[in-house]
Each structure stands twice: as C-alpha cells, then as structure tokens.
Amino acid sequence: MTAIGVTGEYFEAPLSECFGKSEYFFVYDRASGKYRFLQNPRIDEKEKSGKNAASFLVKSGVTTVMSYNVGSNAKKVFDRGKVQIVVLSDNFKTLKDVLKKMKLNLKS
C-alpha cells in the first residue's frame, strides 16, 4: 500500500510540506485498486506528530510513503518497519499530479 501526505480530502489537494504534519493521508492499495483518505489522528499535538502518524501508518500496513520531506523521528519508525520512503520533487504540486505520473485513473 502507498500513502501520500496531503492537505485536503480531495484529488486537487496540494501535497503537504512535511509528512508528519499532513492533515490527511491518501492510501492506495495497488493489489485491490481501492483507495481512501485517512485523517491524521494526532495532528493537533505539538510534539511527536510525525512519530505517531508514522506508527499509525505502519500498523495499517503501508509499504511505501511519499512526501516532500520526512522528519527524523518518522524516518526512524519507517526504517524499523521496512517502509520505502519516496522524496517527491517540487515538480509535483497536487495529489492529482502524482496520481497522473503513477498512471492511476481514480474517480472521486
């Protein structure tokens, strides 16, 4: 499963600057073709939001995460869970851009 950090619950939503601080995660399962938006459960906490978000996603079975930036605490959790980290380039502005490159035609 792939998780992408986004700022909103729609396909035109801009990608979030830092993975742990994203409001929503777009989770896509390549095997079944299903997708859903998950709300970041601990976004309001000032500290350790990245670490909590990361362990939440690892528990949900995510194997690849995509974002512009991943913090040091979140990266530790991902490394332990053997999750692949993809640092996206600035050419990608919104979730739609990434999905287009991944050749996914999803309808909202």
């Binding site: 692949q84 980290i85 993809v86 640092v87």
Partner: protein, 145 residues
C-alpha cells in the same frame, strides 16, 4: 597535517536543490550551502531539537554542530538580505543507506530490504532510468567550508 573533517550523517540526499527565499531573488550568483548546513537548520529550527541531540544524530560533537549551524544561519541571512538564491550542494556527508534518483520524474527513494531497484515507485520508469546517488562521504569536488 590538520585533522580531517568528520563525515556528517544526514537523513536524505538533497544535492543541487535551489531555494528561493524571496520572490525577486536574483538567479545570478547563488549562496552555496552545504548539505550538512541545511540539515542542521532542519534539525535545530524545524524539528526544534537541542544542539546536543542534533549533533548525536549527525555524528559530530556538540560544538561542531553549533559551528555548522552558525555558518548556515549566516548564509541564510546573506541570501535574505542580498536577495540571492540558495543552492544546496556539496559537503562531507553520508546518508547511511542507499538512495536512488529517478531521472524521468526526479523522485528520490530508498529500498529497504532490496539492493537493486526494478522500477521507479512513482512513474514506473525502468531500471536504466534510475541512478544511485553517490554516498562516498564526499559529494562535492570543491570544498565549501
């Protein structure tokens, strides 16, 4: 002979990124910031770590981290006041694991549990379009210290 510079550990390779602090930044002569200096700003200012914590992560002593950070701050100020771009390049750094770059979409990724990439996770480009980012502890041919 002087003591050689210690290798700094960083989380992600960020070579050749260009940062525009101000909208009217002149593209001419960018301020050259090394990857370890950029990392120190992320750890100290963005993740709000103590210098001691950040230095342990980067594998240098606390005073060295403070010096790296101070240099980074001065370069930031230079770029801000003189309206110049910042180019992140060089530095004696290593990432601790192998990172790959896809030439066709520009994404950078790692491969936990595998050695050789099959395809790009974003654009599914083939293996020949993917290059390994050098991780030999000296990414730059010119020293910027």
């Amino acid at each position: 002979m002087a003591r050689p510079v210690k290798i700094r550990k960083i989380l992600f390779p960020r070579a050749d990124e260009i940062v525009n602090l101000r909208e009217n930044a002149k593209p001419g002569k960018p301020v050259l910031m090394t990857e370890d200096e950029f990392e120190s700003i992320i750890l100290v200012d963005y993740e709000k770590m103590m210098h001691l914590q950040a230095s342990e992560l980067m594998g240098v002593s606390r005073p060295t981290l403070t010096r790296i950070y101070e240099r980074a701050r001065m370069k930031l100020a230079e770029a801000l006041v003189e309206s110049r771009q910042i180019k992140i390049t060089g530095g004696k750094v290593e990432t601790g694991q192998e990172w790959f770059e896809c030439i066709s979409c520009g994404s950078v990724f790692n491969l936990p549990g595998k050695k050789i990439p099959d395809s790009c996770p974003v654009c599914s480009a083939q293996a020949k379009k993917i290059k390994l980012i050098k991780n030999d502890g000296n990414r730059s041919d010119r020293r910027i210290f």
